[in-house]
């Protein structure tokens, strides 16, 4: 364990660890961000080509009218559910171990939502007519439901990201005064909104968070439900399904959990957060991913069995194409590589190690992208009239824009982590304080609003000792 020999308090050590990257930037950081920026620029160039010549530059044509962009759209909106899971559901259920990973999860949500929301715009034939969606928007269209749900979710998530950032920004304002650029200090000063860690301020923050964590859960559920209804509201085989809403929501939280495990691992390595993000976090999130994987398997099985048993002609064609035809390589890569193998990795005690859990999470995300690709493309390629199958091969433009989007996602993450603390320091400290005051296992007192701390006058309390506090201190 790092730094255990230095005689500084765990709080100071936590603050040092978390705030150091804000002021010190390694050469590797510049190399990576430069590389990612280049990839993003390449993606932008590909989009400029598409804007110049139209969607003819893509592999989409009549019949298979959607491809990579819509797949990316579902994928990114899917992983945006990470934030809700960790910071809202786990906060509601008072899972104390969530504290060091809430911030990362919320950033995933915001960045993934922004990346995902761009995708349908890139897919539009006339992007310059976006104002028509407001001027002539029809509330009867699933696309409008998506716009309403996603903008609501993005707004809610930004608030939910910002609120718990305030005390940490205030700390940055106080710590980095004089050592950082004036502009940056000004930014911290404005964003910290006059936070002085007063009991009244704490009380208000906790209240706002208490409201937001409840609000954000139904909003998140609504988002992936209406994303699925873009497909579920049509008469196409494979899409014409009543379980698509919950099916997509479970898939979203499944891939969101996988995303948070991956991101957690990267920050743990790069920012040396081993003390705060421990094996326990990987294990607990792994368990969650396992449970969600099993539910997703159940939904998939239920969906395919109920259509496969009856074998309506179009369903039969679709199932043949998916299970042993054109789309079989994608489907089975998803089913075996993206679900079964990850489930076993986490279920078996001897494979349940951090590197293998991370491997499982990466596999889940690749698998879920492939599953969305199969959902989108196979149902479109299915012949509606006798009997011409559609074909789809993505072009370099679509691949470049997709890779650019992933690079942009990573880059936005890096930039965020350069300006703001990636661990919610005050929440971790609050956890230690609560442990110190209430004992290591805080009981859920009936009738009390969950997650509101029992003690409010904590600001000036003495720092808990190493033995009582620091979870990683062992």
């Amino acid at each position: 364990m790092r730094a255990t020999t230095t005689p500084i308090s765990p709080v100071a050590r936590l603050e040092n660890t978390v705030y150091r990257p804000l002021t010190r930037t390694s050469l590797t950081w510049y190399a990576w961000s430069g590389f990612l920026a280049l990839v993003v620029v390449w993606g932008l160039y590909a989009y400029s080509v598409q804007l110049r010549h139209g969607l003819i530059e893509t592999g989409m044509r009549d019949v298979v009218i959607w491809g990579f962009y819509i797949t990316n759209f579902i994928f990114f909106i899917g992983i945006s559910h990470a934030g809700t899971l960790i910071s809202a559901i786990l906060r509601v259920s008072q899972a104390e171990w969530r504290r060091p990973v809430t911030r990362m999860a919320e950033v995933i949500t915001v960045v993934a939502l922004m990346t995902g929301a761009i995708m349908p715009i890139i897919d539009m034939g006339r992007p310059e007519r976006i104002p028509n969606l407001i001027l002539y928007g029809r509330i009867g269209s699933p696309l409008i439901w998506d716009i309403v749900a996603i903008t609501t979710y993005l707004t809610g998530s930004l608030i939910y990201l910002y609120l718990p950032l305030i005390p940490d920004i205030a700390l940055a304002r106080d710590r980095l005064k004089g050592t950082t650029s004036r502009l940056r200090w000004k930014l911290y000063s404005i964003l910290s909104a006059g936070w002085r860690d007063l009991p009244e301020q704490r009380r208000r923050l906790e209240r706002a968070l208490g409201i937001m964590m409840i609000l954000i859960i139904p909003i998140a559920v609504s988002v992936h439900t209406v994303v699925s209804w873009i497909f579920g509201m049509t008469l196409r085989a494979g899409w014409n399904s009543t379980i698509f809403g919950p099916y997509f929501v479970v898939g979203a939280i499944f891939s969101g959990t996988a995303a948070i495990i991956t991101v957690m691992y990267i920050f743990r390595r790069v920012y040396h957060l081993d003390e705060y993000i421990t094996e326990k976090h990987f294990r607990y999130l792994g368990y969650l991913m396992l449970a969600l994987g099993l539910i997703y398997t159940y939904f998939t099985f239920s969906e395919y069995l109920t259509t496969g048993y009856k074998l309506v002609e179009v369903d039969k064609l679709l199932l043949e194409a998916v299970l042993r035809g054109t789309y079989a390589p994608f489907f089975w890569s998803f089913a075996i590589g993206g679900v079964i193998i990850p489930i076993f990795i986490i279920a078996l005690p001897w494979t349940r190690t951090i590197p293998l859990i991370v491997l499982a999470s990466v596999l889940v995300n690749i698998g879920m992208w492939l599953k969305r690709y199969v959902i989108v493309v196979s149902s479109l390629a299915l012949p509606l009239m006798p009997y011409d199958w559609g074909v789809y091969y993505p072009t370099w433009v679509e691949i470049s824009i997709t890779v650019g989007a992933f690079a942009g996602f990573a880059l936005a993450f890096m930039l965020f982590a350069k300006v703001f603390p990636i661990i919610s320091v005050w929440e971790v400290k609050e956890g230690w304080e609560r442990e110190g005051a209430e004992g290591p296992a805080p009981a859920l007192v009936p009738g009390r609003v969950p997650a509101r701390p029992a003690i409010r006058e904590v600001a000036g309390m003495p720092v808990p000792s190493v033995e009582a506090g620091a979870p990683g201190g062992k």
Partner: protein
């Protein structure tokens, strides 16, 4: 929003009017829409309103294979609307069945419960008072929700910049006669809305050498293929007419009468294949080269 747009269009109408002569040279009656003051006919449905329908008698449709020609309905449609290359607004399918094969032309079904209309986020595709589903290409954002929703695959998309005839420069665009064609928007058959209101058959019905396509009106209960006039309801009932994918509840306005072109002597086991319909550019080239040969 409507008022400035109308004023703007009124201004354009003069320009379009002066272009009429030029349009005549383009070969097809582009000018017919110039009399429409508003692009969107918003008349409320009244007694005089017709409710258009179509009947396709498959006993008469032999896919034009016995004539050794590409489907003439598709070619007439291509020429009438300058249908962008790669699209077929009325497409003829060869359907293989247990007793042999038959041909099935598929225009837009003009569904009463149209899935495409339901999903459009901006109301760019709408139903006119005479029951024709149209697309406003000046409003369409190109999201292609309607294409994913259509159970008949009747819609096409301008993936690139579609080629327009030179005369289209002067055309006054209208959803009832969508010329010039625009990039990034969805196109489809609109039952020749510009023709039928003047008492003319849709281009496909007019172009069908077998008179297999009937234009019908549900209000007056009549239908005609240009050769005979029939009582629509009795014609449908007596011939056991059916609609495509009726079980979906889309209530199409296009009826089919079962058959395999037998009225023109086509056997159901006839092996002859459909020919590819030519786009309007090629048809025009052939006409001009034929007339050039004539003069020399």
């Amino acid at each position: 929003m409507q008022v400035p747009r109308r004023k703007f269009l009124a201004g354009l109408a003069g320009l379009a009017g002066s272009g009429v002569a030029a349009l005549g040279l383009a070969g097809v009656g582009l000018a017919q829409t110039a009399t429409t003051p508003d692009k969107r006919d918003t008349r409320s449905s009244d007694e005089g309103t017709r409710q258009w329908a179509m009947v396709i008698d498959l006993r008469k449709c032999e896919g034009c294979v016995t004539q050794d020609k590409p489907p003439q309905c598709t070619e007439a449609c291509n020429a009438e609307h300058f249908v962008p290359a790669g699209q077929e607004w009325i497409r003829v399918f060869k359907v293989e069945g247990p007793g042999g094969s038959y041909f099935m032309p598929r225009p837009c079904m003009q569904c009463e419960n149209a899935p495409c209309l339901n999903v459009c986020p901006v109301g760019a595709t709408y139903r006119n008072p005479e029951g024709i589903n149209l697309v406003d290409h000046e409003r369409c954002i190109g999201c292609r929700m309607c294409m994913s929703a259509c159970p008949y695959g009747a819609r096409s998309f301008n993936w690139g910049q579609p080629e327009n005839p030179p005369g289209a420069t002067f055309a006054q665009y209208s959803p009832e006669y969508p010329v010039p064609h625009r990039r990034g928007t969805v196109e489809k058959c609109m039952l020749c809305a510009h023709q039928v209101k003047d008492g003319k058959l849709p281009a496909c019905a007019d172009g069908c050498p077998m008179n297999a396509i009937y234009l019908g009106d549900l209000v007056t209960d009549r239908a005609t293929n240009g050769k005979e006039v029939v009582k629509l309801s009795r014609f449908l009932a007596e011939n056991n007419a059916f609609r495509l994918k009726e079980e979906l509840g889309t209530r199409p306005r296009v009826w089919y009468i079962r058959g395999h072109g037998q009225e023109y002597g086509r056997q159901s086991e006839d092996e002859r294949q459909l020919q590819q319909a030519r786009p309007w550019q090629e048809q025009k080239k052939e006409v001009s080269s034929a007339s050039n040969n004539h003069t020399h």
